[in-house]
Assembly symmetry: C2
Homo-oligomer: 731 residues x 2
């Protein structure tokens, strides 16, 4: 359960520039004349250090100055309490808690006794549904099928040990955390890495859905009255997990260790008591109840049962992902913990299936297999209740693990440009909010679509997991082959065995469960691969587009090519024309004109008049005002305003493509949203229509209308205003 | 009915400034220094007259130059084909036709023979539901009630004549069109005017709903199989009327005269044939069928019947609204036409009720009264079909009339600042699009809510109509009293009689139908009054806010008061600070910096860094680039970007409230909307958060990302870009 600190960069900031890029930067800089002199002397103190007590104290708390230390200049620091208004930040603060500083990222290292329960919840909790999934298929073939449960269990145990051994290799090779995505992309390339990530993400989302569904089943087995509310209860649990994770719950600690140990104790006891009972019977297997076969016992059925049972192995990779959270020597402690986890998993898994066999218990609706076994071992007493509660608790913990692991995979994808950058961002509470929300939403959709039914979800499950395992173990084979360090042959052998075993399970799961839902997992994986590649290509294209262009060493910069119109970077090369659309001569537009004129660049005012007469009238006012700036009136006999303005600006641009045309738009800002329908939205429409054009800059001069003060206008002021009333068409 | 040309101003442009406002303008202008000199010489030819063939020819057609005539300078004119892109303008052009020039507003004057059918469709079509509405109430009291049908008909005929005479006065007094809103506000004040307008608007919307429902009933009486589809058919008819009116159908002409004359002929024949039959029976009234009383015959029932029957008078005011469309002498022709209309209305109305009485026909479900009468007179032959078709046609025409009248009332309200300015605007086809859409939407909602049931709609109807009549006629009384010209006593007497009669019907309708729906009409009227007054107050407040401030004659302008921070209007008084938020040093931000630096004003770059380290790294790059502009780095340990930037800008503003701070935001513009999730929307969020602040101007420097060209990046370009990839956080 990797703490985010393990690898996440809280700043999501760009990696350092290399020397070549720095050189381009220097070249570009040499072509700028010094611009700090003359009128450009700053009229403000940018460090906000004017106020001795608090720096730049304002409505939302003041900025703080970080005092200068070892050569660093003093820096301004933004306070915690900053928000941009509205009720939402307050609500969020109450629900999620106050924001945390980036430095609060915990890098606590875990003892094995804590790491084991926290990291193995996902894997061990599979015992709650894995054996049942195996038997649920076998029982279709009646008692002949059920007779195969122990051999199949033995095969799966072998698989667990093989893959466990294989992951021990990964821990050694990737002491900084070797998730399937990292190992696969490192050794097999982007496509494999993306496929592994896609498999992992379906795995995580399904872990949430399956764990929540199975946890619900554990509860409804004990309290059947709750059964009809399974879906709403599941959604509520997902919501709680969502908010808990957005709050950034700590994942390590006694509270998180308890459910796992509780579950181990409960199932351990259950198996021991059950075997004790069985010993009294001389280990005679009871005949399974209700075993009329509905399908013939064929190879396909056996393989399907195997694939279903193998879902008990999900989460086995968690420790290898999280190696760096262990106390030092991390890799050695992680390996030991992994061995312990696999051992416990094998015991619980095999014990459960053994007991089911001995007691002749088969899956039946309304009551989980574990619940039936617990009834058989413990009756209806407190030990039964404890078993069900511990099962629900460890499943909840497993779901919670997926909630933090999936956003981490998204973070890694985003870091490698394969996913939207938004997944890089750490929220106020240092959690990957966007990834967490995505997991919650996907799991909720799946839970609803499959009616919180564990057995309907199982077929989707194995495919993603074993695809990720296969790619990761194959990656390890390549890893050892490339290095060929000490013992490389042995390492290759172990990982090759793991890869082969995983690949076989993947193939079996895909073939036998294709129409039951495995196709959906494959579609998701394919989507992740294709989208990941395209997203990366897009980001690289953007990066090329915004990268500074190297300057030829001869010095003189040519005019930019037409298709590269936005490439100029030197102030001297910028030629301005300021265009002010004037709807009427009022305070808002005169302010815009004053703003434009004060910049000391050529200004052109443009008026769109619906008729010749109106055009002449405005010209008359313009002269009365003093004709301070050139005015062009465009008559628009079709009454359109925005379109002619845009095309006029475009026509100016065609005249002089070298000019940077700044359109300075006065915009009335209303005090209340319900005033908006009372104004035409010319400024907004103008801005929206102008932004796609090259070398055209839009400046908005807001004119703020104050909220009503409750006094009635004096008749004099009313008259003064009335003449210009309908002319405020800019807002 | 009123062609828009009658009073609508196509430009919706402000009224001319008065001398005092012009004087303020001159005062303000005197404080501007000449700013056209020096660098401000325009680098473009604003008249776009560089190209001899077409002016400023571009993608969307070129601008045209209107040649100079009698002293006027040449002017640029926008062509028809301008649109701002997207598929919508093309679709609209196909559906609604090409835009029309403002000069295409028809001011055609109508002959009486054309004006009569066009303007009386609304009134005459009421014969299709008015008599039935009367009988439908009376029949509740059984044959005793039905016995009162002729006396009540006589009372309503008297009412028609009284109000008809009353409106003859209005025509004389308001030869330019005297709608209820104009007459009431002229003579009784704003509140009465708004109440009349509210009444009229409910009337128009209900005319559409009732006419469409009654037209549907006329059709389903003949073709009962269509009855279940009444609501969808009604909605389809409203949609056709909507698009027809948005296209700006001409309302005058033979095509519009035919339905009315057809209806007059059909109902006239029906009555004559019916009376002929009756004459054969010696005018013995047949006993009405199925007349078991369900309510006692009381005063309330009689009054209710009267109010329902009076709905036949809706539309009687149409001619007085539209006086200016008549051939000269307009008022005399209009009066003659009004008299003709009232005479025809009286004959058809009284004839219909007389015939129903003689033939013992009472309303029954599934078949309108007119349909029953037509069956009785014509059997099932082509004359019956003609009657039903003519009825449906005139009802459609009546609905169409309301479609053009209601937007006109909204236009008049908006002209007087009582309604949003958007209702002033003439669409591409010279129709008041926004009002038309509002009518269609309201009528559709009502039609669905009342299930296209005419009798359920009638109770809502009379209230609005007679409120408008009452206010209009009362206004006429005041009008004559104020003038006291020749014959003023007689005029007052006639209008007072009209007003009294209308007021009585209004009171009766309100009291007897209150719970059946009249309350809804009253709520709408009250809403129109309150909203109208508030909208006007708001517009006046806006007008005061944007009105130029008179300058004291002493000359020197004081610094604006703090609460009037946005009042300065003189370029010399504007002191600039340009702030450029820099996320990283890439082409987009260097362009923004170059833009800022090229304006020759003080520039401050601001960077929000998530960590100290990142802050130092950017400082290092800044120095590598040449440290051309002052840079302030704000460390944001809580990882927020937008909030610290905004508060930093605010802090600068607090330091120097006299500065105009322009925030120059580089913004990546994506080529396709589906690329948007791949960028953080910092620029948009920044702009949105900054605009509410005073004296802060936001400039957006768009950086356009080209769509993919389908070629794969070369490895060199890829490397050059990769280092800066995640730094393009501005887009």
């Amino acid at each position: 359960m990797p703490e985010p600190g393990a690898a996440a960069n809280p700043s999501a900031s760009p990696p350092p520039l290399d020397e070549r890029n720095l050189d381009v930067l220097r070249q570009v800089g040499r072509h700028w004349r010094p611009v700090g002199a003359g009128p450009s002397a700053l009229p403000v103190e940018p460090g906000l250090r004017l106020d001795a007590r608090g720096v730049g104290r304002g409505r939302f708390g003041g900025f703080r100055v970080v005092p200068p230390t070892n050569g660093r200049p003093p820096q301004v620091e933004a306070p915690e309490a900053m928000a941009t208004g509205g009720a939402w930040p307050r609500v969020r603060r109450i629900v999620l808690g106050p924001p945390l500083r980036s430095t609060a990222i915990a890098s606590e290292r875990l003892r094995k006794l804590i790491a084991l329960p926290v990291l193995s919840a996902d894997a061990l909790s599979s015992v709650a549904y894995g054996p049942e999934a195996l038997l649920a298929v076998l029982v279709l073939a009646g008692s002949d099928g059920l007779a195969l449960s122990l051999p199949l269990a033995a095969a799966i145990v072998l698989l667990m040990i093989t893959i466990g051994l294989s992951y021990r290799q990964t821990i050694r090779a990737y002491p900084n955390g070797g998730g399937s995505y990292i190992v696969a992309s490192d050794n097999l390339g982007r496509v494999s890495g993306l496929a592994a990530a896609g498999g992992l993400m379906t795995d995580y989302v399904l872990t949430v859905a399956v764990s929540v569904a199975a946890g619900g089943a554990a509860v409804t087995s004990a309290l059947p009255a709750l059964a009809p509310a399974a879906v709403p209860i599941g959604l509520a649990v997902i919501a709680v997990l969502l908010f808990g994770n957005l709050r950034g719950v700590r994942q390590a600690g006694a509270a998180f260790a308890a459910p796992t140990y509780g579950f181990i104790v409960a199932i351990g006891l259950l198996v021991i008591v059950g075997l004790w009972h069985a010993a009294h019977n001389g280990f005679h297997a009871a005949a399974p109840s209700a075993t009329a076969p509905v399908e013939p016992l064929g190879l396909l059925l056996v393989l399907r049962a195997f694939a279903s049972g193998a879902t008990a192995m999900t989460g086995i990779e968690a420790i290898s992902n999280a190696t760096p959270v262990f106390q030092r020597p991390a890799w050695r402690n992680a390996r030991t913990t992994l061995s312990w986890m696999v051992a416990i998993l094998v015991l619980l898994y095999a014990g459960t299936l053994m007991l089911a066999h001995l007691e002749g218990i088969v899956p039946r609706p309304g009551q989980t297999l574990l619940s039936q076994l617990a009834h058989a071992s413990f009756g209806n007493g407190p030990l039964y209740a404890f078993t069900q509660a511990a099962t629900a608790a460890i499943l909840l913990l497993a779901a919670n693990t997926a909630f933090s692991d999936c956003p981490r995979v998204l973070y890694l994808l985003a870091r490698d440009l394969h996913a939207p950058r938004t997944f890089l961002r750490l929220g106020d509470r240092l959690a990957f909010n966007n990834g967490i929300v995505l997991v919650a939403a996907s799991a909720a959709v799946i839970l609803v679509a499959f009616g919180a039914n564990t057995s309907a979800l199982i077929p989707l499950y194995a495919v993603g997991v074993f695809l990720a395992f296969t790619l990761s173990q194959t990656g390890m084979v390549v890893h050892w082959w490339r290095r060929r360090g000490p013992h490389w042959r042995k390492s290759i052998a172990i990982n090759a065995a793991g890869a082969a075993a995983s690949a076989i399970v993947f193939a079996i799961a895909t073939v036998t469960k294709f129409s039951e839902g495995a196709w959906l997992a494959l579609v998701v994986v394919a989507t992740v691969v294709v989208a990941g590649l395209r997203v990366r290509r897009y980001y690289l294209r953007v990066a090329r587009a915004v990268a500074l262009r190297p300057v030829a060493s001869t010095g003189a910069r040519a005019l930019p090519a037409p298709e590269d119109a936005e490439a100029e970077e030197v102030p001297d090369a910028v030629r301005h024309l300021l265009v002010v659309p004037v709807a009427s001569i009022d305070l808002a537009s005169v302010r815009a004109l004053a703003y434009a004129a004060s910049l000391g660049q050529p200004v052109l005012a443009v008026h769109i008049a619906p008729t010749q007469e109106e055009a002449e009238r405005l010209g008359h006012y313009w002269r009365a005002w003093g004709d301070h700036l050139p005015l062009e009136v465009v008559v628009s006999p079709y009454r359109a305003v925005v379109a002619p303005l845009i095309h006029y600006v475009e026509a100016l641009h065609r005249q002089r493509p070298d000019l940077t045309v700044t359109v300075i738009v006065p915009e009335l800002r209303v005090a209340h949203w319900w005033h908006r329908p009372l104004h035409s939205r010319t400024a907004t429409r103008l801005r929206r229509a102008l932004t796609p054009l090259p070398k055209i800059v839009v400046t908005t001069i807001p004119f703020h209308l104050a909220p009503a003060k409750g006094h009635r206008p004096t008749s004099r002021a009313r008259d003064a205003g009335a003449g210009q009333v309908r002319s405020a068409a800019t807002g």
